[in-house]
Structures are given as C-alpha cells and as structure tokens.
Symmetry: C2
C-alpha cells in the first residue's frame, strides 16, 4: 500500500515526456489502456488496446523523474504474392536483406535496475523469459548502450508457446533480429545491427544475403523451399537501412504445421487462424506455378494438417484419455517455475505442474495445460449431443 | 400514403392474437423486430432478430380484424456423430423416418388474397419463388386446407441461390418436406403429410424409409455414401410423429461442394462457414472408421475443394477477367424479372441483367452478380499490396 503511494505516476511529467495532454494520460489509465505491472515491476506500464500513436505492447518505464519508452514490436505485414510485393514495396531501393523468420515467441530485452528483463509482445515481463535471457545476452552490451533495446526470438523445444525441434536447439535459445532505440523505436540498419550483435556474441537469426530487387523473388522462393523441407518458418525481407517497412513470407509446411497444432484443439482453433492459413496456400500455389502433381500434394498436405490431428483428438477422447498441451521449461532458480505459473494464472491460463527434476545445475519442470473446451465438446459429440 | 393509414396495424388486437402485451408489440415495431412488407404485401409483417417466442422469419398476416401466423422454419440441428446422436435424441421412439435433404433454398407457401405466395427463410415474399410456385402446387389444396402451410425446397439449375444439376431437374422444381399448421407451427406426422401431398400431386423429397433406431445409423451411412456419389446433400432424420425434433446429416461431397463454391469468392467466404465444414469432415472421418487410403482421399478432397477454386479465381483475375456469379432464371411473366431485381436491390444485392430470351411461353434471363470484394482483393495482391 505504502509502495503504491510513493510510486504513483506523475501524470504531468509522464504526459510531457510522451508529448500528450495530461488529460489524455489520465484517460488512458482510467480506460485501462495504460496499465501498471506488479511486484518488482511496479514502475513499468504497458499500453494496450489501441492507444493513439503507440504500438500495442509499448512499455513506459517510470524512473521517478525521468521516463523511458520501449516501443512495441511493429506488426510485419505479409506478402501473399512475393514478386509483386517486393516490386511494389521496395521500389525505392536497389536491394533487400533477407533474414530468417524463426518460429518461437518474440521478446524485447532491456536492463532494468541491474538485471536484464524480457517483455512479451503485449508488454508483460515474463518471468521465464527473463530468467532465461540472463544466460543468452552479455549484460555489458546494455551498460554500453543503455538507449538500445534488443528484439529477438525465443525458440527451441523447452518453450511454453511454440515447441520446435527444427532448429537443433536442445532447450531454448534467443536469436536477435532487431535492435532499436528506446523512445523512438528507430531501428539500427541491418548490417550495423548484425556487427554490433556479433561483437557481443549474441546469437542472431540467419542472414541469407542481400539480393537485388529483381532477383530477390526467385532467390527467396528457393530459400523458402529449403526452409520448408527443414520444418522452418520463413523469411523477413528488409530494407538494409531499415527505413522501409519489412515484409514477411512463410513456407507452406509452416502454415500446415500451425494448422496441425491448432486442430489438435479444434474447438479452440480460431476461425481467422484457419482462414488466413488457407488463403496463404492459395496464393502461394498460384505464384509458384505448380505442376498438377505438386498442387495435389499441397491440397493433401493442407487437408491432412486439419483432419489428422482432429481425428486423433476424437480417438483419444473416445478411448478415455483427455488431450492437453504438454511442454517442459528449464530454469536455474527453482522459484521461477512457480513465479511463471502464477504469471500465467493472472491471464486465466491454468497449468498443472508435473515432475520437477534437477538436471545439472538446472531444474526441468513438466507442465500440462488442459484444453477443456475441446475435451468437453468431443465428449458431448460422443454422447450424441447435436452441434447446434 | 392513404393506404398506409387505412391499413395501420391494430396493435391491441394483434397483441391479443399473439398473446403478448400491446407494449411489447409496439416495442417490437419500434426496434425493427417486427417489420412490414411493401406494395401488395403491405399487410404482411415479419419477425426478425430474435423476437421472444417467435422463430426468426415468422410472418404475421393482418386480415383487418383477424390475424394469422406463418411460423419460421425451425433450425434443424446437426448430428456430428450419427450413431450416438440417433441413440441420444430418439431414445423415446422405436423408429425414425429418413428423408432426403435437398440442396436448394427453402420456402413456405400459403394462399394470400387468391394467389399462392412464397416466403423465404427470412419471411420476405420472393417475387421469383412466388411466380414459380404457381406452377408447382395445386391451389385447391390451399382452399381445402386454409390453415396449413406447405414447406419445401426450391431446387434445380435455374436457381438464384444454389444451382444444382444433381437432381436431373431442367429448370427449377419444388419438393415438399413439411406441412405445418398456421399459428402454432405444429407439423403433420410424416406419413400423413406424404399421403396428403401425394393426393394433390405435389413433388416430395424422397423418403428412404422408416428404420429401427438400432439399425438406422448403418442404413443412413449407406444412404449417405450413395447420395455423396451423386453429388447430393444428405438426409433429415425425423420422428414419424413429428413430436421430437428432426436431425440433419450430410455427405462429405456436399461439404466439399459448398467449399468449392465459397472459395471461388474467397474474400467473401465466411470464416465460420469454412470452420464448420472442416469440423464435419473430422467427425465423419472418425465415425466411419476409414482406412488410411480413404482418409487420405478425404484430406485431398477437402484441401482441393478449398484451394482449386481459389487458385482459379486468382488466375482469372490475373488474366484480366473478373469473377462473378452467373445464373439463369425462367419466368412466365417478363415483369417478374424486374421485380426480382428490385427485390434484391433492397437487400443491397446488385445484379446485372444480361440477355432475356423467349423460350416457348417463358422468358429466360441471364443474371450476373459481381463479387467486388474478391476481385478487388485479388487485384490488390497482384499489384503487390500486402495482406495486413
């Protein structure tokens, strides 16, 4: 209670810093568009739900006298047809840098009161990512460049959100794909960023190269075919100067892998999620001028990605099992496991903690997230209820 | 203007007839839940948007002193798993009647001021269906049974909504599947209804037979397989006494045919429409205990139903064509063509009238409905715009 009084946000000053009228800041707080964090992150606020001129997930840090903004990660738009998208969006420049888009979850890292902390896309401080990131990034970087934010992908099998074996990672790792200035969100140019990250020994997403605008689409198609075979996601195509907005483009296999995961829990699967992936397949199929045989293979891949996991779920529930999402997390501090559980609790995501094993100097926790909705719906259908 | 005054609804009397408080009826009118028709159907009102205790599309007819209700067609729920659904929903009876569910649009027919009129599902008087139904149903029936409403499916290739060749119909025809009392909506028992319809020479949906509850699911699966091969839709399973609610069940081929039609206009395709059809395939695949080969065939059928029409649309737009929905209607009175166009106009459905040819004593009109949204989106992608 005392804490909440002493650390109350100075609205006048915060408003001045953000160049907004104080009444606007008060309104954002009242309407829940500017929310404060809890516990040791009490002085960190996040923007949510379309605050004006501020990306969702942008974070405001109150240093009691001064402020800092960590801008939300700008949504990267998608090319449906690669070649026209390249020509249309990068007409002002002569070449693009192509980097791998890895499949995991993205976090932003800064130093806060002597410790690295990791923000999720929505601007929450994730206890698991925060603990992990201490191992991944050299803190000297943040002391040298206190005005920079490191954006990267957390990926690997010991991942609460997207478990991927495709990268040959044993547990979890962090790959830098962007470095941006605090406050403005301005990005470092691609090659400058890569040199800097390299200097501090950071892992980085793979750079496939810089390609001239005219040759890029055929080069990227080749890359996408190779990535697809390896079960990887796709690429982000960037203006090397990071002035024009990047574009993403993904593999058919990755779309289908998303669908396989989603349709295991078919009653939770989003309609838009299904629709958007189907649409990508349609455009890719057109642009790649596939043979009839390749096209039929794509159709089969799409259909199977939807139906096989769903069929398996029904079989499992019929046989008396219940489906659930299972994953592992690995931590140095045993406490992080419980902090992470409590953190998910706040969002209504209830997990069941299973075995916790000590392996070396770390703890590995087995976690299950029950998918009540799909289990219940499947049971209802098996009992002869009607759909609607 | 004069007409609107003389035919004003007597709210007190209408309320008394419907057993609602007059204030409720006034409220329904104010809120747009009870809407009057236009022109010669000015004395006909329809319920829309969840009026209490009244199915959507229910029609109130004001005879200036007396009233009648034509109840909306009750939504038929769907079996996802046939056998448990049969056992669970018809446990009180020993056998079910299985009739064909035809693919068209359903209308309700009554006599109004000396002429047959056809209501659509939403309770509008459709000028095309109204003209057509004069040829299909013997008016004596309605004079003999003024308290009955005939429910049936309009199907065939000359159909503005669902063009089907599968029934061997040359133009359009009407198949009775229900006869219900005005006001209460109570249905005639299946065999009584069929005898009555037969007596007046009405076309009827096919009755596959009455099956004991225990043998019904295997019998229906056989029927569904056969119907699927012929490109037909499915069945409705009924309590012969029409006391318990009927259940519908459809063929995989029909789901896929729906998707093929929808994904031609992929940018207009509903997310829920896609999702629901995919889900049906998953459950059917499970219940039918398919071989791996049959399962893969189903996956391919599903994927192809989505991707092939979409791919074709993109190709067409790229080649400079624009996609559109094309169909024909056939009428006796040339005026009906224009009345029907104006009728669609009221719903914001704009059509382009093409050639009108005289064939025998009838007029055949070519109609095109442009799908601006899919054309525009496809063009935008071909020009290199990004998805979002």
């Amino acid at each position: 209670m005392k804490n909440s009084e002493t650390s109350k946000l100075n609205i006048e000053k915060a408003a001045e810093f953000m160049e907004l009228p104080p009444s606007k800041v008060s309104e954002l707080i009242e309407k829940g568009n500017l929310k404060r964090n809890w516990d040791e992150y009490y002085d960190i606020y996040r923007f949510q739900g379309h605050a004006p001129h501020m990306e969702d997930g942008t974070v405001l840090i109150d240093h009691h006298g001064t402020f800092e903004l960590v801008r939300g990660f700008p949504k990267i738009k998608r090319a449906m047809l690669l070649e026209p998208a390249l020509l249309n969006n990068f007409s002002e420049i002569s070449s693009v840098a192509v980097e791998e888009k890895m499949n995991g979850y993205n976090v932003r890292v800064i130093e806060f009161r002597g410790k690295l902390i990791a923000f999720t896309r929505s601007g929450h401080v994730c206890p698991y990512s925060t603990e992990r990131v201490q191992n991944f990034l050299e803190p000297d970087f943040f002391r040298e460049y206190p005005d920079l934010v490191v954006y990267g992908e957390m990926t690997g099998p010991e991942n609460p959100y997207v478990q991927k074996e495709a990268y040959g990672i044993e547990s979890l790792d962090f790959f830098v794909f962007d470095i941006r200035y605090k406050n403005t969100g301005e990005a470092l140019p691609v090659h400058h960023r890569r040199e800097l990250a390299d200097k501090y020994g950071f892992n980085q997403v793979r750079l496939f190269g810089d390609f001239s605008i005219n040759s890029a689409s055929s080069k990227i198609m080749e890359i996408i075919r190779e990535l697809g075979k390896k079960g990887r996601e796709g690429v982000v195509i960037k203006d090397p100067a990071m002035v024009l907005q990047p574009i993403k483009y993904t593999c058919s296999e990755s779309n289908c892998s998303d669908l396989r995961q989603a349709f295991k829990f078919y009653n939770e699967a989003g309609r838009d999620y299904l629709y958007s992936r189907v649409i990508r397949e349609g455009f890719q199929s057109h642009e790649w001028a596939e043979s009839e045989e390749d096209f039929m293979e794509r159709c089969l891949r799409l259909g199977e990605s939807i139906l096989r996991p769903m069929k398996k779920t029904i079989e499992q529930v019929e046989s008396g099992e219940r489906i659930s999402d299972e994953f592992r997390i690995r931590v140095k501090d045993r406490e992080t496991i419980f902090k992470y559980r409590d953190y998910l609790d706040r969002f209504g995501l209830y997990i069941a903690l299973g075995d916790i094993k000590k392996i070396g100097d770390e703890y590995v926790a087995e976690i299950r997230r029950m998918n009540k909705s799909t289990n219940d719906k499947t049971l209802a259908m098996l009992e002869g209820q009607l759909w609607s």
